[in-house]
Amino acid sequence: MSNIEKPVYLEEKLEEIQASGHLEYRSKSLPTWCPGCGYFSIVEGLTAALNNLSIDPDETVVVSGIGCASRFPFFIDTYGFHSLHGRALPVATGIKVANDDLSVIVVGGDGDAFAIGGAHIPHAARRNVDITYILFDNGIYGLTKGQTSPTSVLGFQTTTSPFENHDMPLNPLMMLLSYGASWVGQAYAGHPHHMAGMIEEALAFKGFSYLHVLSPCVTFDKTSKTYQNLGMSVRPLPDDHDRSDVMAAMAQAQKTDAPALGCYFEQPRPTLADGLNDIAARAAK
C-alpha cells in the first residue's frame, strides 16, 4: 500500500518484468490499444501476479466479453475465450464447473459488465464461483467510440449524451458488496505496482473475487476520469479498515469522490464447486 503515491512508468515496469521472466505470459500479439490507455498496465499487473503465484499458463483461462478491455485475452499467453458482449461470466462459470483445476480470470469493461452484462453479475457473485473478475472501468464505451456508459458521471458529455449525462452512475463496489461477492477490491491503472499486488490477492482468494480497476480512456474522455483527475483523487483505504466488515466496506464504497484503493471486503465461504460436490454426495447416497 505504501507505494500508492509513487508514480511508476511503464518502461520501468517492463524492465523489471523482463528481468524477472514474467514475459512468458506475454502473447506474441501486441496490444492494439491506443497509446496511453490504462489497459496496458493491467496486462503488466496480471502477468506479474500470475508469475508471483507461479500459476501455470497451461492451466489458466482468461475470459472476456466485447469491448476494448475485452481484447485482453489476445495479449496474454494463456487459454483465452473472447465471448459475446456482456456474456463472459456465464461462460467462465461453465469453464470452471467443467474443470475446477483451472484458474479462470474474467476481464471486461464497465459497459460489458454493468449495462448488457448486468444481469449475470449478481448470480456469479451469489454462487461464489471460484473465479477472479477484473473490471476495467473507464466510464465510457471505448470500442464503439465514446458513448455514455453506466459508470459515466453526471454531466459527462458524449456522442450519445450531447446535452450531458443525466443518468446517475452505478456504484459497482456497492453492487458487488450487496450481491454477496466474497472478495471485493479496487485498484487504479496509474498505480500498477499496487494493482499487481491487488490482482495477486484476488487470484489467491478462493471464491468469487472482484477487482475494480479505474482506468482512463485517453482517446474519448478528456475531462472526466483522466489520469490527472483520478491521480489527484485516489487514496489508500484507511490503515484501520476492517476487511471482514461489510458495513465498513460499504461506507468506503460510498466515497466516490475520493476512490479508495485496496481490499474492501474479504469473507471466505463455500464455493459453487463445494455446493456441487455436496449435491453429488447426497445424490450418491
Binding site: H85, T144, P162, F163
Partner: protein, 381 residues
C-alpha cells in the same frame, strides 16, 4: 412530398434518423453498436429539439422492450442496431408481432456471425430479418439502397407499422449506412403523418383484437378509458388469453392474413428493363448499386438484361417478380452472404428458369465487373 430545393450531403445513418423524425418518430431507445451507432447519436442530438425522447438503454433487449412500452403509450417509436443486437431483439420482436404493437427496428448489417467483422459490410441478415423470431408471424422488411431511399423508406416504415400494426424492420448494409450522398429532402411539413387506428365507441363494447374488414384492430392506449390488457399469450378478440383451438386459429390466421390483405400497399420494388430480359438481376442494398451498373453495361453491349430490386424485401413482391421475370431464362442473385435471397428466388421461379448466385463472404462488396462477367458467361452459353 414536396422538395425543399436545398441540396445537402448526408450520411445514410443520419438520413435514417432524419426520415424517422420527419415521419413523426418521437421515441428512440438504443444501445451503441457499429455500424449503426450514428443513428442513435443523431437521435440523441435531434429528438430533444422536437419534444422527442432519446434514451440509451443498458442493452438491446431493454431497447426493444422500451420501444414496445413507448409505442403502447402512444409514441411512434424505433430502435436501431446491427446483427448481434438484432438477435437480442428477436424475442421482443416476436412479442410485437403477436401483440400487434407498431414499432420500427433498423438493422445496419455487418459481417457475422457473432462479432464477425464489426466494421465491414455484409448482407447476412436477410433471413434473420424474416425468420429471426419464433413462431408463425408476419413482419415487414424494407431494404433501401441509397441515402435518399433510406429517408423515404423510414417514412414508409412508420406509415406501414402505424397503419397495419405490424413490426417493420429496415435493413441495409454498412456501406449504405456510411455512404454520404448529395440529396434533396422533402420539406418536413409536406410529409403525411400516419395515424394509428385508436379505440373509439363505447368502452364496454371495445374488443382489443376484433376482426374487422381491414384486419387491423383498433388500439387502446393507457389513459383513454378502454383498460385493455396487452399480453404475449394468444388471446381471443377480447384480448384475454385463450387456448380454444378455434379462437387461436382465428387469431393467428387474421394476423398472417393482415399482410396478405394489404399486400398491394406493402409491396414496393424497382424494375429496370425487365420486359424483354433474358437475364434478370435480383438484389438489394449496395449489391443492387453494383448490379444496376452491370445491367447498364450489359444493355450497352446489346444483352437483354434487366434488374428487379425488391424495396419491400419481405413479404417478397411475388406478383411483381413473376411478371417481371416472365421472359427470363436466368436469374442472377448477387448478395454479400453465402446465399440467402436466392432461396426465395428458387422458390418462386418456374421450372424453366435457372437461378445463379454471385456471393461474397469476405467483408468486401461485389464488383459490377464480377456481375457483368457472369452475365456474359451465361449469354455465351
Amino acid at each position: 412530398m414536396r422538395a425543399t430545393g436545398q441540396l445537402q450531403n448526408l450520411q445514410g445513418n443520419h438520413a435514417c434518423a432524419m426520415g424517422a423524425i420527419a415521419a413523426g418518430c418521437r421515441f428512440f431507445a438504443g444501445y451503441p453498436i457499429t455500424p449503426s451507432s450514428e443513428i442513435a447519436e443523431k437521435m440523441s442530438l435531434e429528438l430533444p429539439k422536437v419534444d422527442g425522447i432519446f434514451i440509451q438503454m443498458e442493452d438491446e433487449i431493454a431497447s426493444m422492450g422500451a420501444i414496445l412500452g413507448a409505442s403502447m403509450g402512444g409514441s411512434k417509436a424505433m430502435t436501431a442496431t446491427s446483427g448481434p443486437g438484432f438477435s437480442l431483439k428477436q424475442e421482443n420482436l416476436g412479442y410485437a408481432a403477436g401483440a400487434e404493437i407498431p414499432c420500427v427496428v433498423v438493422n445496419v448489417m455487418r459481417g457475422g456471425p457473432s462479432t464477425g467483422l464489426p466494421t465491414r459490410p455484409a448482407q447476412g441478415d436477410i433471413m434473420q430479418a424474416r425468420w429471426g423470431t419464433h413462431g408463425d408471424h408476419g413482419v415487414i422488411v424494407l431494404a433501401p439502397c441509397s441515402v435518399k431511399e433510406i429517408y423515404q423508406e423510414m417514412i414508409r416504415a412508420f406509415w406501414l407499422t402505424e397503419t397495419l400494426r405490424v413490426p417493420v424492420v429496415v435493413i441495409y448494409d454498412e456501406v449504405i449506412g456510411h455512404l454520404v450522398e448529395t440529396v434533396e429532402l422533402p420539406s418536413p411539413q409536406s410529409i403525411e403523418q400516419a395515424e394509428r387506428k385508436w379505440a373509439s365507441g363505447p368502452s364496454a363494447e371495445f374488443l382489443p383484437y376484433q376482426k374487422t374488414k381491414d384486419m387491423v384492430p383498433a388500439m387502446a392506449r393507457p389513459g383513454d378509458g378502454y383498460r385493455a390488457h396487452t399480453t404475449g399469450l394468444t388471446t381471443s378478440e377480447s384480448g384475454f388469453p385463450t387456448q380454444d383451438p378455434g379462437q387461436v386459429e382465428a387469431m393467428v390466421t387474421r394476423r398472417l392474413g393482415k399482410l396478405e390483405h394489404h399486400a398491394a400497399d406493402i409491396a414496393s420494388y424497382e424494375e429496370i428493363d425487365c420486359k424483354d430480359a433474358k437475364i434478370i438481376l435480383v438484389t438489394v442494398g449496395i449489391s443492387a448499386r453494383a448490379a444496376a451498373r452491370a445491367q447498364q453495361q450489359a444493355r450497352d453491349k446489346g444483352l437483354k438484361v434487366g434488374l428487379f430490386r425488391p424495396i419491400t424485401l419481405w413479404p417478397f413482391p411475388v406478383v411483381a417478380f413473376r411478371a417481371a421475370s416472365k421472359k427470363a431464362t436466368h436469374i442472377i442473385v448477387p448478395e454479400m452472404n453465402a446465399g440467402q435471397l436466392i432461396l426465395e428466388i428458387e422458390r418462386l421461379m418456374s421450372a424453366k428458369q435457372t437461378a445463379v448466385g454471385i456471393n461474397r463472404i469476405d467483408g468486401e462488396v461485389i464488383d459490377p465487373v464480377a456481375i457483368l462477367e457472369k452475365i456474359e458467361e451465361i449469354s455465351r452459353a
